[in-house]
Structure formats: C-alpha cells, structure tokens
C-alpha cells in the first residue's frame, strides 16, 4: 500500500517534472514574468528617489510571484489539457483517485516553482548584496514550509474546481493577479485599503508570507508569529477539505451522467 503510494508519487512527479522542463511556457511563469515585475519595482523605487530597493519585497517577493503564477497556470491548465485530450476520463476511471494524481502534480508544480524563489534569492545576493545575516533561520524555514503547504492546498483546490466545471477555466485571468495583489506578494498588506486586507485574510499564502517576511527581518518566534503559522495551517486545511468535497462532487456527477468531458 505504502509502496504503491510512493511509486505513484515518484512516477507522477517524474512525468510532471518532464512536462514542466520541456514546456518553455514554464520559463515565462517561473522566471520572465517575476523578473519583469521585479524590474518594474526596482525602477519605480529608483524613480521615487530610493537608493536601494527593498529586497525582501521587490526581489524575493518576485520569487513568490513566480511560484504562484506557476502553480495557478499549471494546476489549472493540466486539468484543461486532460479534458481536451480526453485523458481526464481515463484518470478518473482508473483505481487511483483523481485527488491523488492532482495532489502529486500540484506538489511537483510547487517544487518546480520554488526554482523561481531560488533564482530571486540568487539575484538578491549576487546583484544586490543581500545578506541573510540576522534572519531568524528556523522561523524562515517553518514559514516557507507553511507557505508551500498553503500553495499546495490552493493548487489542489483549484485543480479539483477546474475538474468540476469547464467554465471555471474562465477564472484563470481573475486568479493570478488578484491573489498576488491581495496577498501582497511584492508590497506589505498595510498599503492596501482595509476591505482588501480583510479579503486577503482568507488565503493561507498571506499568513505564510507574513511569517516568512517577519523571520527574514529577524523577528523572533513569538505569539504573533505562531498565530500567523496556525492561521496559515488552519486555512490550508479548509482549502484541502473543500478540494475533497469537490472531488466527491466530480465523482458523483460522473456516476449520474456517465460523462466527464461535457461538464
């Protein structure tokens, strides 16, 4: 049982990695777009008279943006591609649950997207002499892990949502930038109006990201930071449970109608 689980994960993630590497579109999602947004931030900062940009937000934030863009496009387009090439029915019909396939795919998408964060960190260190001295290493590692969990849960949720209805494909353009905006990928949440800050509270990425920034700025592990971690973990769990609910809904629908491509 466990062997089968790990074998499935290994094979599924291997295929997914090859698809990401061979598809040049990944280059845009993971590197080009974040680099362009980061450049805009740096040039705006210079135009505003700042000698140096805020590296945590302007450069490392671009890495987070690459992770999110990669996740939202790959998680959603994978399901759309499955539907278009009629492999969605084969996956659903196989004894392996769809949610497990989607789960491994999303995990690989996030790990591949982490290359964006690595590239952003390299740029911050090599080009802007960013120093990791004085950061809260343990806090940063835990926050980053929680960020990955949050991203994974949202990725699985979106993939199931897209399997549930082909109309949900319409929302890709309404997901990428709004979430980046609401979660403050490249600026602090405090610059947003209050109503936007309230909306952003329902996304686990926001809390993981705040924890990561606090830790990168040397903040200690105190009650404020642990509260952010717990909120991030709690909301991630809610997204995961929602994705389970969607998964059941998809299977119910197939049993009733006997078809999947048309839903």
């Amino acid at each position: 049982m466990i062997n089968h689980f790990f074998r499935l994960g290994f094979v599924q993630m291997g295929v997914q990695l090859r698809m990401r590497v061979l598809n040049l579109w990944s280059l845009v999602l993971f590197f080009t777009q974040p680099a362009i947004f980061s450049t805009v931030g740096i040039l705006l900062s210079r135009a505003a008279g700042n000698a140096n940009p805020d590296l945590i937000y302007t450069v490392l934030g671009a890495g987070i943006m690459g992770m999110w863009s990669g996740l939202v496009f790959t998680s959603t387009y994978d399901i759309r591609a499955d539907r278009a090439t009629a492999t969605l029915e084969l996956i659903v019909g196989s004894p392996t649950p769809l949610r497990r396939v989607v789960g491994f795919r999303s995990l690989m998408n996030i790990l591949a997207g982490s290359s964006s964060m690595i590239a952003a960190s390299a740029v911050a260190v090599l080009l802007f002499n960013y120093s990791f001295v004085g950061i809260n290493v343990l806090g940063a590692v835990i926050s980053f892990l929680l960020l990955l969990i949050g991203l994974w849960c949202m990725g699985v949720f979106l993939a199931n949502l897209f399997a549930w209805s082909r109309l949900s494909g319409t929302f890709v353009d309404l997901l990428e930038m709004p979430i980046a905006l609401l979660c403050g990928f490249m600026f602090p949440i405090s610059v947003l109006p209050l109503w936007m800050q309230k909306i952003s509270a329902v996304f686990p990425i926001r809390w993981g990201l705040e924890g990561l920034r606090d830790s990168l700025q040397g903040g200690m592990i105190d009650s404020a930071l642990t509260t952010k971690w717990l909120i991030s973990l709690g909301i991630s769990l809610v997204f995961y449970l929602l994705s389970r609910w969607f998964d059941n809904k998809v299977h119910d629908h197939i049993r009733v109608t006997g078809e999947l491509n048309s839903i």
Binding site: W25, Y57, D173, E176, M186
Partner: protein
C-alpha cells in the same frame, strides 16, 4: 480596375470579420471581458500599490499608462494568435494555397482588433478617471481620440511580426507574452521614460507606443496639436515600419514554405 479594388476590399473585410470571429465567437460575454480586462486591470492595481509602497509620488501615471496599454491585448496578443492559430488549426496550407492576394489577407486580420482595442480604451479611460478621481478638465478631446486610435493601430505592428514568428516557431506564444510584458517597462507604462536607464531609453525610442503614449498623456492634460505633432508623426512612422517589417517577414516565410513544401511544419 474598380472591380479589382472592390475585390480587394471585400477580401479585406471578410478576412477581418472571420478571423476576429474565430477568435472570440466561442466565448461568452464574461469570458470575453475577463480575457480582455482581467490581467490588465489587476496588474494595474498591483503596480499602483507597488508604487505606493516604494513612495512613487504619481500613482495616476501608472493608472493612465496601464489603461493606454490595453490595446496591446488586441494588437499584440490577439493578432499574434489570429495569425499563429492558422498553423495550429491546420488552416495554413489552404490559406497559402489560395490565389487570393496576400496584402488584404494579411493586413485584414488587424482591422477588428484595432476597432476592439480602440473601443476598449475609450470605455476604460473614463471608468478609470471616475474610479481614481482623475481630473482632466483640460482634455483636448479630438486630439485624445486621435491619439487613442493611433495607439490601437500601432500595437498591430508588433502583432504582425510576432504572429509571423508564431508560424516559424512553436514557442512563438512564449516570445509574444515575454515581449508584451517587457512593454510594461520599456514604453513608459509604469515608469517615465526619462527615469529609465540610458540603454532602455534607447530601446524604447525604437518601439511602437512609446511616443503615442507620451502624446496621449500630453493630450489628457490639455496639450494642443502643435505640442504633440512631432510625437504623433514619429509614432505613425514607427507603426508603418513595424507593419511593413511584419508583412515582409510573412511574405518571406510564405516563400520559404513554398520552396521547401513544408507549409505546416516550418
């Protein structure tokens, strides 16, 4: 002679209508609107808040720049898809095998994208002005309309080139997207041209929309024809050069595909 000209016009508008319809007729109004304004609108807000965070004193510069950037969705992305999809859907062989003159076939694809881009910007600009409480009481309306129309036209130059490149490369869409995003830096959308590093300023001088955007900004603040004539003429010249380059490239690709007999696989 008149019959021939009428034939050209008929072909031009038929091509224009069918190619545009094939791109959007399958979509619902909601899908159409989200594809048109989803990314531009939210990226505008993103840049506004990014500017606010770094202390950029003129958020309206970013708002106006991103609104003026909207025709790129049609002129660059839409047109590039219209041309590039011919190969993807296997229609390339039939198109190149037909005896129809190439000029109306090729340039016709831009007509409705220009119209759509122009309408988008004409609708979006007043909405943005109301939302962000921008006071443009001194607007020179005739000049503004002229500038907006020119912006909608000039983006197609890049669309023609990238569409033809999409015929040559299966990764054409990636290149088109990268170019489209680079425009956020290079043509004065978010950052004034004079604040760019010298190398980027030089590049921006050779790109379409740079002068058009400057002229439109001036028109919004009440500048007259005499103030922007040079910019508009420069913009027109750049647009013509890009469209000619796009058409020449297309003719070259067609000739190359004929000589190798590999219409769809080049």
């Amino acid at each position: 002679m008149i019959k021939r000209i009428l034939h050209y016009f008929r072909l031009y508008f038929y091509q224009a209508w069918f190619s545009y319809r094939s791109l959007f007729s399958w979509s619902t109004p909601f899908t159409y609107l989200t594809s048109k304004i989803g990314f531009p609108f939210f990226s505008m807000l993103f840049f506004v808040f990014m500017g606010k965070f770094v202390g950029f004193s003129d958020p309206m510069f970013i708002v106006v720049g991103n609104i003026l950037m909207m025709p790129v969705t049609n002129g660059l992305y839409g047109l590039s898809m219209t041309i590039g999809n011919e190969r993807q859907f296997g229609a390339m062989s039939y198109l190149l095998g037909s005896p129809a003159p190439r000029a109306p076939l090729f340039t016709g694809r831009a007509f409705f994208h220009i119209l759509d881009g122009f309408i988008t910007i004409v609708v979006a600009l007043p909405i943005a002005m109301l939302l962000f409480k921008i006071d443009f009481s001194g607007i020179n309306f005739m000049l503004l309309i002229c500038c907006l129309a020119l912006l909608a036209i000039t983006t197609t130059g890049l669309g023609f080139i990238m569409g033809t490149i999409s015929l040559l490369s299966r990764d054409g869409w990636m290149l088109t997207t990268t170019l489209g995003q680079l425009l956020y830096i290079l043509i004065g959308v978010n950052i004034p041209i004079d604040k760019l590093p010298p190398t980027l300023q030089t590049i921006s001088a050779y790109l379409p929309m740079t002068r058009g955007m400057q002229a439109t900004r001036l028109a919004l603040f009440g500048a007259g024809w005499e103030n922007v004539a040079g910019l508009l003429l420069g913009e027109l010249l750049v647009a013509v050069v890009y469209i000619i380059v796009g058409y020449t490239l297309f003719m070259y690709v067609e000739r190359a595909s004929m000589s190798t007999g590999s219409l769809d696989s080049i």
